[in-house]
Symmetry: C2
Subunit: 595 residues, 2 copies
Amino acid sequence: MHDFKAPIRDIQFTLYEVLGAEQHYQRIGAQEANRELVDAIIVEGGKFAEEVLAPLNQIGDTVGCQFDNGVVTTPPGFKEAYKQYVEGGWPSLAGEAAYGGQGLPESLATVVNEMVSTANWSWGMYPGLSHGAKLTLSQYGTEEQKQTYLSKLTSGEWTGTMCLTESHCGTDLGLLKTKAELQADGSYSITGTKIFISAGEHDMAENIVHIVIARIPGSPAGTKGISLFVVPKMNADDGSKNAVSCGSIEHKMGIHGNATAVINFDNAKGFLIGEPDHGLKYMFTFMNFARLGTALQGSAAAELSFQGSLAYAKDRLAMRSLTGPKFPEKSADPIIVHPDVRRMLLQQKAIAEGGRAMIYFCTLQGDILNSNVSAEEKSEAEDIMSVLTPIAKAFLTEVGYEAANNGLQVFGGHGYIAEWGMEQIVRDTRIALLYEGTTGIQALDLLGRKVLSDRGKKLRLVTRVMHRFCRDSKNSEMKEFIKPLRKHYKDWGGLTTKLGLKALKDREEVGAASVDYLMYSGYITLAYFWATMADTAYSALKTGSTEKDFYESKIKTARFYFERILPRVKTHKLVMMSGAGNLMDMGDDQFGFYQ
Amino acid sequence: MHDFKAPIRDIQFTLYEVLGAEQHYQRIGAQEANRELVDAIIVEGGKFAEEVLAPLNQIGDTVGCQFDNGVVTTPPGFKEAYKQYVEGGWPSLAGEAAYGGQGLPESLATVVNEMVSTANWSWGMYPGLSHGAKLTLSQYGTEEQKQTYLSKLTSGEWTGTMCLTESHCGTDLGLLKTKAELQADGSYSITGTKIFISAGEHDMAENIVHIVIARIPGSPAGTKGISLFVVPKMNADDGSKNAVSCGSIEHKMGIHGNATAVINFDNAKGFLIGEPDHGLKYMFTFMNFARLGTALQGSAAAELSFQGSLAYAKDRLAMRSLTGPKFPEKSADPIIVHPDVRRMLLQQKAIAEGGRAMIYFCTLQGDILNSNVSAEEKSEAEDIMSVLTPIAKAFLTEVGYEAANNGLQVFGGHGYIAEWGMEQIVRDTRIALLYEGTTGIQALDLLGRKVLSDRGKKLRLVTRVMHRFCRDSKNSEMKEFIKPLRKHYKDWGGLTTKLGLKALKDREEVGAASVDYLMYSGYITLAYFWATMADTAYSALKTGSTEKDFYESKIKTARFYFERILPRVKTHKLVMMSGAGNLMDMGDDQFGFYQ
């Protein structure tokens, strides 16, 4: 298995050179996040990921979490690594100062989370889920709830979860059955069974804070009657056991190191967060964070897979270059000489680095929401983020999964063998297309809720960002990127209008076009980020940078992306405009004919 | 886990109605393969697959093969199922009568193999590998070798393998190190270690006949010095143990029920097959069979995945149709009402049924090769097959893997959980893109060896088949399919010429275009088969068939394919014409920048 290396140089390039993080932190009033501090965080976070977490990635898969009579044991080393993580103060990085946090911008937590999660996705989900719980409590919790739970989550002494899914409902949460009955003391008695609870039970912390959705008797049916509760595994007042238990953990395709738990609440003591029946809205705080976190799984998979397959492609000898031996002194050429191997490497690189830029961009928008800039600026950042979040989540996980498959493919038959670690990346990443809303759900969110509902207003904020970049770029060499980018973002708008008109006649057109629309949007969005990176690289080369290879690599990868990946929009466009009939005309009984 | 059902009706449709198998068997002189017999074989084979093999598929995955000190134990039930298979006479179906075979056409063995392999891929590989060994011995073995080994393989008492790969070479067999030294008695002493030997060791039969490639000292270096040997696990003359041992079995992503063995030959006694140094040519008999067998894994995965996800989509309730409740009496609509779920179901159906037609077509060409028709007819069949085999292998496994992923995706989060069986299909199928030559290798074979080497002559035989179909179709409704098909197969030829010219200037253009060219070719080829199926369906409807739903389903699936899958050729065309520069200009040291 290849040793993971934190991509420090690329993180710095993306954060500082492409996205102007130094000015950004000034703008949002985070003066403490100066270059020196941020660099130190990146380097130390990278070291932790490389030295502590990466070595546990494979054993996390092979040993997995063990369940015995309600008790979950995490894989060897996971618990100790978590202790080091807490001692290093990592959980508190972006936490509210009033509850023990360091008050740094969320975007910095994302950068650290990226390295942690690339090194060991299963492990990273434990603090990842906690972070979501923190955000929810920070935004909607009472002062008492914050003192009690948020401070412990911030220190990392306790971890958190999100308890949404039940066996009969995941996407359609309006069907949930878990009930919450008001008690004389103002608390609620929670009863029901939740499934698919990531990090739901483990041995890494002394308490687990479950954020649970449930229905209060008498509340409206469907999603309008959902309330949000905080339900600790151990009662916070006296440390006694709450009526919360782990019924089992799932046997899954991957992420074996993370416990996916069935959690039973049997008249467990819980506390309402915010107002009754507003739970779904609150939960979306958590969900939006989780969606961006899941988007990260796509680019993280591409990064890890790329590192492994790049090393292998330079090492493994097979056949000769079609233009004659490149390494005549060896028994065969290393496979990196073969064009198709390069194609697979470059696809991974394009997604790893392009995805990084897309996610960092989104998380910087998130910083703006939490800052003191004008309401107008905030509203714009929120709108841009609301369009980009489903794109980042679904698109990056789809192409990240493709990247993981390409990484495996570079290894030939060896890629299928567990010891190389490549097939684990494929298995681990597969879940990213499912949880926090499947690709199909993200696509409906994007096209139905985000884009068509305001007749493309929010979308135009996104394409305006692209327009301004194209207008302002100073490098004449950028034509090869700017010309197609301009064409595509204009098409994006035009196509959206056409789909809107089709949808007025037949609502099924939205669902029938949605996934192709999302992928189409994703390819154009990533083209924008690759164009900005090429532009940054050209500028750096002109100022006489000594890192000629690094910047040339960016330009060449951008070219690869524009010439070999971006053309996929052609197909998506044709397909999404092909009409709903070719999907809807088939009778339910016409699909299969089995005796 | 969903119960597998043999797709009897669809097999009959494809074989008889689309491909005219009755006339075909007459033409090749296989009079005994009349409709009654063939139907009986299909029904009985289907029953065996459903009742004996399908129930062992999941346990094959969870228990897997166990290795202990050289001994491999197959999963519970595998051995007993094999015994039943032998008792049923299945191994001898297409075998030579002189060695105990029933002498039926190879294509019928493929039909049975399809059902067997769909029900339980890992199990099916044991007889599958035997079948390849049989074909090799049948074609190149001496009379004595046939009497000794072929008869035992035909009865199924013994099984066979193909021992090619060594740890340092898979694709590049010229690098192999296993040596074969001539002994005084005319036998050879074989020494070396082979890896990735499917069905290489097990407890299902009393002997295993290894077909081994090795180098005789003094033979030329590279692929021109490879010879082929038969090396039994137990010596055939006295039943004593040969110096063949299993060193270990691999831990793999999937196909856990099939032992992927390391086989050590320590001065093992082997016998030369055919002439020295001609091994690679002989081996390709085996390989071509294996490639078509692997192509089957793509459509088999699509079929199994489709059956599971179709049942789930009709059962699982979530959300309401965008056009209002379709099942108002239920708490939500079954997810089959949602356009995007239908898109995923139809992609699977299109690959399962279209892939079946493509593979059956190829195997019928194979029948012709083995028959007494004219040399000209044989040569044409061989040429067509040589173009279609790499397409079927690589294209169908790529889109079959996509289908398996779509099946998993229909299940949402449940698809990631082992008990549903959907993630197993994804893991099992992933290997199909690797073994018997990766997608990249098939693509080079297609574009470099099969198409460009004779300036498209063999390719024109394939497009001529399409041309004749378009010319001869009698159904006026077929315009929607014939018009685009005609355009595409003409484009295919034109594009090939253009690539040929590019390749004259720069050989890297072949490698750079190859995989996109292969996928492009695959989509057009499958379009042809869907068009023929739609044409057959229109004709049947006009003759007043009572199976209206069945035939309408074919036409609607063809429409789905033409409108939503075939447009992918647009992107592949753009990408393959984008030039090799965007892959080759990147310096080897410009790919990654890690400290």
